[in-house]
């Protein structure tokens, strides 16, 4: 995750400067927010294997996602037509232009997000590896330095059950 933090910090100030110029009515909070979403989207694209190589610079790719988010936020579509004409000239930029942006959390997901932090760090990491990254029990055992696969399996079952209970309790309150 260190690389993720570094990437965020590396172009953060440049992006804010460029976006302030481009969207002169934008508040810095919105620009920072868009930059965060752009970096997360990029991270997700890499991690999921959807994006395997870049023919443009990372900076350009991230800027394009960030500006798209700001355009969406401020509904600037008509003013930014050159955007797609340039994007069509580079495969990666076209991809950045077309790719799905981060969805907003619905009520159910917000509740899950609140409850998941109540779990122990190890369990949280384990369910993310298992259900988000799609790792097998054996892979998780190696990655998390566990002695037995059974311990992982038991922990996963308990974590799912615990999460289900926490969510049900919250709904019943």
């Amino acid at each position: 995750m260190e690389a993720f933090d570094q990437l965020y910090s590396l172009y953060r100030n440049d992006f804010i400067k460029a976006a302030k110029y481009r969207f002169n009515s934008s508040r810095e909070d919105d620009i920072v927010d868009a930059w965060q979403d752009a970096v997360i989207s990029f991270y997700y694209q890499i991690k999921s294997g959807k994006l395997q190589s870049l023919s443009c610079t990372i900076k350009s790719f991230l800027y394009l996602i960030g500006f798209r988010i700001l355009i969406k936020t401020y509904n600037y579509n008509s003013k930014h037509e050159p955007f797609d004409s340039f994007a069509s000239e580079n495969e990666n930029l076209k991809y950045a232009y077309d790719m799905e942006l981060l969805p907003e959390l619905d009520e159910k997901q917000t509740l899950l997000n609140k409850k998941i932090v109540e779990l122990p760090e190890q369990s949280r990491r384990m369910i993310m590896l298992r259900y988000v990254d799609g790792k097998s029990i054996a892979e998780i055992k190696n990655e998390m330095n566990y002695q037995s696969e059974n311990a992982i399996s038991v922990n996963l079952s308990r974590t799912l059950k615990k999460l289900k209970e926490l969510i049900e309790q919250a709904r019943n309150i």
Partner: protein
Amino acid sequence: MNSEMIERYVANELQGEEKILFEEKLKVDSKLKAEVEAYKAIVADLRTVQNQQLKERLIQLEKKSFHTESSTSNTKLFFLATTIALLSAISYFVYNKYFNPTPKQDLKIEQSLPTIQENPTPSADPIEKIDTSRLKQNQKNPPKIAIAEKQQNKDQDEQLYAVHFQPYQDDDLMSMTRSDGEQSNYEKFIALYLAKDYKNALISYNSIDESLRDSDNLLFLKANVLVMLGRVKEGRDLFEQIISNGESKYIEQAKHALNNLKNN
């Protein structure tokens, strides 16, 4: 039904006979079915939740690294500025009092300038000597890495200018493309420009008759095309040329475009 089996089913790891048997059990066991569905719903939302957690991580990083940094750096800047101001004042006082017997009214501007020796006396301090020579060498021949990095940043910036540059468009241009017969190269260029097909627009421009091609009005459109194709420097030079010639009807627009590019 053991809980590890349920977990494996939710993780989509059950296969063949195991999976068939499990799904048959699901059909008859409504309690199991409800439990599995609840787990599946949780798992389906984990991706979005992970994104949110990454977001929270970045919010913390933002608070820690940038908000604190700005206040710290402001404090540092304040102390630095104060120190420099104090040192300047002390140096000025000491110099005037002990080393500069010449009355102020006799001072010439040249005398106040430091003299640079062609062959300065070697410094007693080896560290100072090394630093100075490095500095001079760097001035003459900047490190290759620095040049490459600068060039890369420049290229990236040029790319970004092209992404965010807004080419000139107006209704007058539309009227230039109306033709009953076959389109001239000039009209083709305008039509391609309006269609935002800048690559072919440039090809078409080069086929326009020279007498027309060099008109500053048309050069203005060409400058827009060049920027849109990422040839920002050429486009910028052309805008400057149009402004300096003072003949185009698009001078104000050229200034605006140039200003946009410079501000980037």
